[in-house]
Subunit: 235 residues, 2 copies
């Protein structure tokens, strides 16, 4: 596990965040940067020493990460980075599909032409990102596309639940090669959704979102390619 000195330097300014929060965010970044691979062990003693803090806030952060599913704490044996098995990907797809379907139906009266246009614009930006092989930008715009109808829903709990599930979906497997075909398929699906909305048919859009875009069965060949633990490439 590699560390930066960012954690220590942060102590030089007025901290408005508790150590626990800082450690939590640091560890979340480690997940995003794929420095924490599924199965690897996080040693509290050495980690706390390297971060220059006591074990207490580290433990606090790890307890939160356990509740969120990122790590598994085996008492007195070790703390391990969780894996993301396919059946759990499937469960996440079902939950997100149901909730985004509901969010879109709820948001539709508030979207208007401006909101639909924004979704269209974001989808075009996703297309451009693919052409430039800029997959980080693709995913950023992808999240923003979905947030166009999640945020106006105004349901913080719904947003929180979806957000947590997406963190797990997107952080864990990103060491894998992007599947360009999947990204292009996503863009076409987004366009279908936009077209339904532009044609004033939110019910069709919400159904397509749930039963195609967030359907494990429809997306299965891509999901397997992306999440299945076979012939790992070296990082």
């Amino acid at each position: 596990m590699e560390y930066t000195v960012a954690m220590r330097e942060a102590k030089a300014v007025i901290n408005v965040k508790s150590l626990k929060e800082q450690v939590y965010e640091y560890l979340r970044q480690q997940f995003q940067k794929h420095r924490l691979q599924p199965g690897t062990m996080i040693n509290m003693e050495s980690t706390a020493k390297k971060l220059g803090i006591s074990k207490t806030p580290l433990r606090d952060a790890l307890l939160q990460l356990e509740i969120e599913g990122f790590v598994t704490i085996s008492p007195r044996r070790g703390i391990f980075v969780s894996s993301l098995p396919l059946h759990e990907v499937k469960e996440f797809y079902q939950v997100i599909g149901a909730l985004e379907n509901s969010a879109l139906l709820e948001s539709y009266p508030k979207l208007g032409a401006v909101g639909i246009k924004k979704m269209d614009t974001l989808n075009r930006q996703m297309q451009k990102a693919i052409e430039r092989n800029d997959f980080d930008l693709f995913y950023e715009k992808n999240l923003l596309f979905h947030n166009c109808f999640i945020d106006p829903c105004g349901n913080k709990n719904l947003s929180r639940i979806i957000g947590n599930l997406k963190k797990r979906l997107y952080d864990f497997p990103r060491q894998r090669q992007w599947i360009k075909e999947w990204e292009e398929s996503s863009i076409r699906e987004h366009q279908e959704i936009v077209d339904f909305l532009a044609a004033a048919d939110p019910a069709a859009a919400a159904l397509f979102l749930r039963d195609v875009h967030w359907s494990y069965e429809v997306q299965e060949k891509y999901i397997r390619k992306y999440y299945e633990p076979s012939e790992r490439k070296g990082v």
Copy 2:
């Protein structure tokens, strides 16, 4: 805050649960028994002393309860029992409605006549519980009714999300008087769902479940009576 000696006596047998887990469950029971009212402060020093443990496992348990929404930790100021405002009840209703709708559609092929009969039976038991003014039994059967189509779905994450939201819905306001009219209305709605399923129309059942049974707007007059902080009765 009152305590039993159950926590201390538990130390006399072989503990397979960590202190943190035991404290967590103890505090959850306090919520269920309405010993912890919204707004009240939980003092860590005195609580730990009364439980006969150090502050560390108590803090661990409280961190989990905060993530689950039961308490709010104001750093260095105090830990307070959360309230459940109406807008959050509304958010929970939307999330649960969307997820149970999805679960019912997924479970239907596995339900069969046996599963539908079981739901019918549980609903009749709910009716009997109302006639006997046994509201604890009513709620137990109510949860089991819904679990008839949540469990066969086999989606642990979906169950966990719904379960956590229901804990908040059911634990917080139970000091209030039962609304018999609402319970009887719920039983009629359950019967509608059972009838749709018996008529091999899962889509209608799932829609009714989401858009009537878990509709905040439809249930609003009962929800307000039950959750609105007006003319509190002494405990």
